[in-house]
């Protein structure tokens, strides 16, 4: 059993330009470990300081957000195509646009 994993452009700097991998992972946690093992340089970028996968990274299985399929519990099927796509936000809120600090003391 294997799934095809399509990586975003943003990852390529850390994957020597690779855009796609085949994985034998059975579910999302296994897949993330597999990606990190294949591309060790990607690991520190994929997870935050607490070791959690960064919240802006989304996973889709055959066009559907994996969170609608059971997220980590979803069992990959042979031939699934998994898309990894970072969220595109442009928001700003607590961070001060002047000093750039979350806890701004400018005023």
């Amino acid at each position: 059993m294997s799934v095809k994993v399509v990586l975003p452009n943003a990852f390529q700097k850390h994957t020597d330009g690779a855009r796609e991998i085949e994985s034998k992972a059975h579910n999302l946690p296994e897949l993330i470990v597999d990606i990190e093992t294949t591309f060790p340089a990607l690991k520190p970028h994929l997870r935050d300081e607490q070791g959690q996968v960064r919240r802006f990274i989304n996973f889709y299985v055959n066009d559907e957000d994996i969170r609608f399929l059971g997220n980590e519990k979803y069992a990959f099927q042979d031939g699934d195509e998994v898309l990894v796509i970072p969220s595109i936000a442009g928001g700003s809120c607590s961070c001060c646009s002047y000093c750039g600090q979350e806890d701004c003391v400018c005023y």
Binding site: H45, N58, G91, C93, C96
Partner: protein, 429 residues
């Protein structure tokens, strides 16, 4: 800062200069435009703004475009209306409507963000632009791309309102209907933007695009006589607008154009697509995606990219978020039109209904200065009112028929007698 504005990662702080990019290479988080407020300090003054054009470009020195940029489209500078009649109905004594239902050129607030996005598309040398859209953005991109001579590809969910489809096609844009909801369309656009060298206003140009929303906040403050309101009620789709209005207020405070004040931010969603209001009510910034099912299709984003920031903005400001049913949305569209003469689309119905509820629940006090943001025009979603009004039977062009019609209408002949015009003391019949 060496330049007047540049991209900066929201999470890790890495800077990128200016380039069509929306995701940090290091932590894959969203990039944002950071303006150099010190550099703008001398130019961004009340006097200089007052001398500027009657459009959002009066705030050009805090928008991400070069100093010598000459805008092609005068978007924004929409009316801020007092709303006493609506106020009386919902228990508000100091309520204002920011009316972007009449934002030019395509009658929604999206004209603001597109103006900034396409300015940057030209600067980066794109000859083709595009977007994923729930409708209003499609109209805005199509119109302004036509004006700038850019090719446009617009991707929309297949079930979009016919008026919004027509209002995109008429400008000669290539409209691509996608068999899926907005979140499917948006994901596809992320992939397309990686494959084609196009400027997608809400993908690779998004950091620039989003800054255009600040002009709603700048205008509210200026139109209130350079002061900030107590509360702002904002509709939420992707969640960007509410955070950018707050950013605008902070920049005005920083530059000394308004007195410092903690404005409370209230978010409005439709219950059929309420991932942000659900998070706010649960006291979290973690957004659980939803499958949208609401007539408010311009707000139907089940996986809102700026959701965590919007939820944080609301929580930190001491505000709240609410969501309302489709029935309430339609009633609110009618109520706003009947009381204030403003015909808004379904998103405006959401904002109006949520505003009413916030007063009813005591979350906004009657005397507080409150601005409700109406972001789109009712002519685009007339299907939401299908069946709301009966088609009247035609009558003959005779006065007697008209009088009989009035009598049938309410059966109150006495009132009608009094309504007759008296000329020279004679009752003219």
């Amino acid at each position: 800062m060496a330049v007047a504005y540049e991209l900066r990662c929201r999470e890790c702080g890495k800077t990128y200069g200016n380039t069509p990019l929306s995701i940090c290479e290091d932590c894959f988080s969203p990039l944002e435009v950071q303006c150099d407020l010190e550099a703008a300090r001398g130019r961004f003054t009340r006097e200089a703004i007052a001398r500027g054009p009657s459009s959002m470009w009066r705030y050009q020195s805090l928008l991400p475009v070069p100093e010598d940029y000459v805008p092609a489209t005068p978007a924004g500078w929409t009316p801020l209306l007092q709303a006493p009649r609506l106020g009386r109905r919902i228990g508000a004594n100091n309520l204002f409507i920011k009316n972007d239902a009449v934002c030019l050129p395509t009658l929604s607030f999206k004209d603001r963000v597109v103006s900034v996005a396409l300015a940057n598309a030209q600067i980066f040398g794109f000859d083709t632009v595009g977007c994923s859209s729930t409708g209003n953005l499609a109209n805005a991109v199509a119109a302004q791309a036509a004006r700038l001579g850019l090719k446009a590809y617009i991707l929309v969910p297949a079930d979009l309102e016919p008026a919004k489809i027509l209002n995109t096609q008429v400008y000669g844009a290539k409209l691509v209907r996608i068999d899926g909801n907005y979140d499917h369309v948006n994901r596809l656009c992320s992939q397309i933007a990686e494959r084609f060298n196009w400027g997608f206003v809400n993908v690779n140009l998004r950091p620039y695009y989003a800054e255009g929303s600040k002009t709603v906040g700048f205008e509210i403050a200026e139109q209130l006589g350079w002061r900030l309101p107590d509360n702002v009620v904002v509709p939420m789709a992707g969640g960007s607008l509410i955070t950018k209005i707050r950013k605008a207020f902070k920049e005005l405070i920083e530059l000394g154009l308004v007195k410092e004040k903690e404005v409370r931010f209230f978010g409005a969603q439709a219950t059929g697509c309420s991932p942000i209001s659900t998070a706010v009510k649960a006291g979290t910034e973690a957004i659980e995606p939803q499958r949208p099912s609401t007539i408010a299709r311009s707000l139907a984003i089940g996986n809102p990219a700026d959701g965590p920031y919007a939820a944080r903005c609301i929580r930190e400001s001491g505000g709240w978020a609410e969501d309302v049913s489709d029935v309430e949305i339609v009633s609110a569209i009618q109520e706003l039109a009947e009381t204030e003469g403003v015909f808004t689309e379904t998103a405006g119905g959401v904002t109006t209904a949520v505003t009413a509820r916030l007063y009813a629940h005591g979350r906004i006090k009657p005397d507080e200065l409150t601005v409700a943001c109406i972001t789109g025009n009712g002519l685009k979603t007339t299907d939401a009112l299908a069946g709301a009004y009966e088609t009247e039977q035609a009558i003959r062009p005779r006065l007697t028929d008209f009088e009989a019609y009035l009598e049938e209408l309410d059966g109150d002949k006495g009132d009608r007698e009094r309504d007759r015009v008296l000329v020279g003391g004679a009752n003219v019949r």
